[in-house]
């Protein structure tokens, strides 16, 4: 990656709350459920003696209680401390001593833990992961010290980065009533007050086998995974009081919003727009599939509509992009970004972007390009087989976000079946200013019009 692409990718990364790519190779995938309700997915690839072991909890930052933002992510950090049988740091040290790597991540809808090790070390990973599902033992010192770490993490990811600050502010006003408006890492003033009670409350509510998905990929046999999973996870009782994932819903959005962020650290201003959009719903993924293709048609590289009109023809932009993350339990966003050319103001850039969108609604879909996109999606199933961990991640993310195995496996066909008319209908439905937020990232001296 050249530096130029890296920097512009840095801008586009801000818009990828979740990766867009979404194709599932169903070959070599085995699924079953343990008696206590824990779901299991096995993705086989016997070419290298490697296994990835992941546990996904259907609990993310949007499941937090009001006032405790960041607790899902804080707990994720604290799961690397002691349990009844593991000393502090022992889990990671054991993974390392086996040549492996481990980590974890938290999103709005899930928290996931993974290790990547030699295939014959799977049992050790399962024993430790099962242990910390129910048996963490935290001290007040753990809370105090790790809270400083997550505050430094917020400093690094957000406070030091005006692009991230704008994105956070835009989400906060995109959602009137849903927890997706609260940052995953938490608001600083609430992170500073997170305590043992907050952490253990979240843990006791959500960390149970019937709220978890085990995803194992690599050089493994499904029967062996079943035997080990039954032994380590199968013995943990289910929580019959698991709360339903019922979040406060969005009311109709009837007014467009604008966010202007001025910061002395901004060198390259840009315009960003997000619209509230339908997510992939179980058994009904057609709208999401149309939006996935719409994002590609509008802003997916050199041949896309926005790039063509704004970077090649009018040359008002140095970069444009469109982003849609369909894997989400509740309503997601469809986003656009335009980085204006040196002599173009943000107002001119925004006007040009809106005029181009309006023209797109008249011009419609370029059928040749749609055919090429669909061919690339079919090819990505072939390339995807070279990366089973990627396939495993897609299952984990989907199953933790309200989708089923069948949804994941039918997704490639759903994408292939989308027509140009459906894409245009989706565009008209989603690109509605009343459900949108427009953000300007501005140099401190920039004057608004």
């Amino acid at each position: 990656m050249t530096r130029l692409r890296a920097a512009l990718a840095g801008i586009s990364l801000i818009f990828f709350i979740m990766p867009m790519s979404a194709t599932a190779a169903s070959t070599g995938v085995t699924t079953f459920e343990l008696e206590n309700g824990m779901q299991v997915v096995v993705v086989e690839d016997h070419r290298a003696p490697v296994v990835q072991h992941m546990v996904w909890y259907r609990a993310g930052s949007a499941d937090e209680t009001s006032g405790a933002s960041g607790v899902a992510h804080f707990l994720e950090h604290l799961l690397f401390k002691a349990t009844d049988t593991l000393a502090e740091g022992e889990l990671s040290a054991t993974v390392s001593a086996n040549g492996g790597r481990d980590n974890a991540f938290t999103s709005f809808d899930y928290t996931a833990y993974f290790q990547r090790v030699a295939a014959d070390r799977l049992e050790i990973m399962m024993r430790m992961e099962a242990d910390r599902m129910r048996n963490i033992r935290l001290t007040e010192t753990n809370i105090e010290t790790e809270r400083k770490v997550i505050i430094e993490e917020r400093n690094q990811r957000t406070e030091n980065n005006p692009r991230a600050l704008l994105s956070e502010q835009m989400r906060a006003v995109q959602y009137h009533n849903h927890r997706y408006g609260v940052p995953i890492i938490g608001w600083m003033h609430e992170m500073e007050t997170l305590d043992m009670e907050d952490v253990l409350g979240f843990y006791e509510t959500y960390y149970h086998p019937n709220n978890a998905i085990l995803v194992v990929s690599g050089d493994v046999e499904p029967n062996e995974v079943r035997r080990l999973a039954t032994r380590y996870y199968g013995v943990i009782p289910e929580n019959t009081d698991l709360p339903k994932r019922q979040r406060s819903a969005e009311p109709p959005q009837t007014a467009e919003r604008r966010v202007l962020l001025r910061d002395v650290r901004v060198a390259q201003p840009y315009v960003s727009r997000s619209y509230l959009a339908t997510e992939r719903n179980s058994g009904d993924q057609h709208m999401a599939a149309a939006l996935t293709l719409l994002a590609d048609l509008l802003g997916g590289g050199t041949t896309s509509y926005l790039t063509e009109k704004l970077q090649f023809d009018s040359q008002k932009a140095v970069y444009t992009g469109a982003f849609y993350g369909g894997v989400s339990l509740d309503s997601t966003t469809f986003s656009l970004v335009m980085v204006p050319s040196a002599d173009v103001s943000l107002q001119d850039a925004e006007d040009a972007m809106d005029a181009t969108l309006a023209q797109f609604l008249i011009d419609g879909v370029d059928e040749d390009r749609l055919a090429r996109i669909k061919y690339q999606l079919r090819a990505s199933d072939i390339y995807g087989r070279d990366n089973v961990d990627g396939i495993a991640n897609r299952y984990g993310r989907a199953l933790a976000s309200g989708l089923t195995i069948e949804d994941v496996q039918s997704w490639p066909e759903v994408l292939q079946a989308v027509t140009a008319d459906e894409i245009m209908a989706a565009a008209r439905k989603v690109l509605v200013r009343n459900a949108s937020v427009t953000g300007w990232l501005m140099r401190n001296e920039e004057v608004t019009q």
């Binding site: 050249t2 530096r3 130029l4 890296a6 920097a7 512009l8 840095g10 070419r47 290298a48 003696p49 490697v50 593991l86 000393a87 022992e90 990671s92 040290a93 054991t94 390392s96 001593a97 086996n98 040549g99 492996g100 790597r101 980590n103 990547r116 090790v117 030699a118 070390r121 010290t145 790790e146 809270r147 400083k148 770490v149 997550i150 505050i151 430094e152 993490e153 400093n155 690094q156 406070e159 030091n160 002395v264 650290r265 901004v266 060198a267 390259q268 050199t302 041949t303 090649f312 050319s341 040196a342 390009r369 090429r372 061919y375 072939i382 390339y383 087989r385 070279d386 990366n387 961990d389």
Partner: protein, 439 residues
Amino acid sequence: MSRILAALMLVLIATLPVRAEIKIEEVVSPGGITAWLVTEPSIPFVALELRFRGGASLDVPGKRGAINLMTGLLEEGSGDLDSRGFARALESLAASFQYDVGDDALSVSSRFLSENRDAAVALLRASLIEPTFEQQALDRVRAQVLASLRSDAKDPDTIARAAFDAMAYGDHPYATQYDGTIESVTALTRDDMIAAHKAVFAKDRLFVGVVGDISAKELGPLLDELLGALPDTGAPQPGSAQIMIKGGMTVVPFDTPQSVAIFGQRGISQDDPDFFAARILNQILGAGGFESRLMTEVREKRGLTYGVYSFLVPQDYAATYQGQVASSNDRIAEAVSVIRDEWTRAANEGVTQAELDAAKTYVTGAYPLRFDGNGPIARIMVGMQMLGLPIDYIATRNDKVEAVTLADVRRVAAELLDPAGLHFVVVGQPVGLETTVAN
């Protein structure tokens, strides 16, 4: 560490059997181009990795950023295709070509389907051999580079990197950023692109790795078709850098809540007989995940940062040993102090037998886990060739790690780690830190 773990680890060390079994073939094309090949027919595509030694360090004085900009233009028109024609052709093949440049190499990572291999190779060839460098494309991509350079000027990480490199590498190309400056990039012309292309693309600096659905017999003619038209020689390599790092502290004032630091000293080159001892030392000091000494002391015990790392940087023309950390402006001084203490402790005391054993099991156990896809294996093979390693190196590499003794690591720690020669560049408003005059 608990007793349970200690017992567990003994068993594991005794039974660690994993060794990558990768069968590499050397293929020499009829036209004389050498490639390393792993035939892996189970998925109908090929990953092909090319690397041209020298990369952006072949920029001539006054033209900094030319090779980076040229690299960005390879996919912006070639043969009779313009930017959009090229992009459409690439989409129609569902192939992927990535052009990347760094201090030591220009690399091309490609993958293409078996069903349209010939057409994909022809398109890739056009981008490498016949780029048009059309003026409109040049101006458009230049504007993107300038946008990126303007952002860099206010990005604390990039400011720290630029300040460190300027301090460390004297008048070598490594001392400046390879994407150039606003001034140098603004002045670049189409002729500069043609010269940059001629400097980089030549057979005398080419390394090739191929993995996937292709046999040795098929690969030979493909290599000639793709690369046969390259000239034999390109621009001379830059030669070694003189490393100028002296102990101390450089503070670059910048208004942001968290200070960002890069620190470093002289390093060790990859062909040094002590490199694996240094690799293990660094694993213990700062490369590990959560259990390195730096991570334990700076993050786990004190909560001063989200991440602190150290890394050996054995580049082709300079070897340094660097690290990075970020902490709030009011806590960065403590982080720096703890890092200095750990540097000194490791230099004076070396490491323990338990640390050495754990680092060895990690370094040897992690090695086979890298060979986990066609693209990664192709990249590893190219890296091996650039280092001049033998084709059977993979099978012997872990033995070299196992051969490192506690005495080796202690000796190398004392020789390599230079607490007095460690220099910190801190960007932010750090409380209690000031620029020192080099000693």
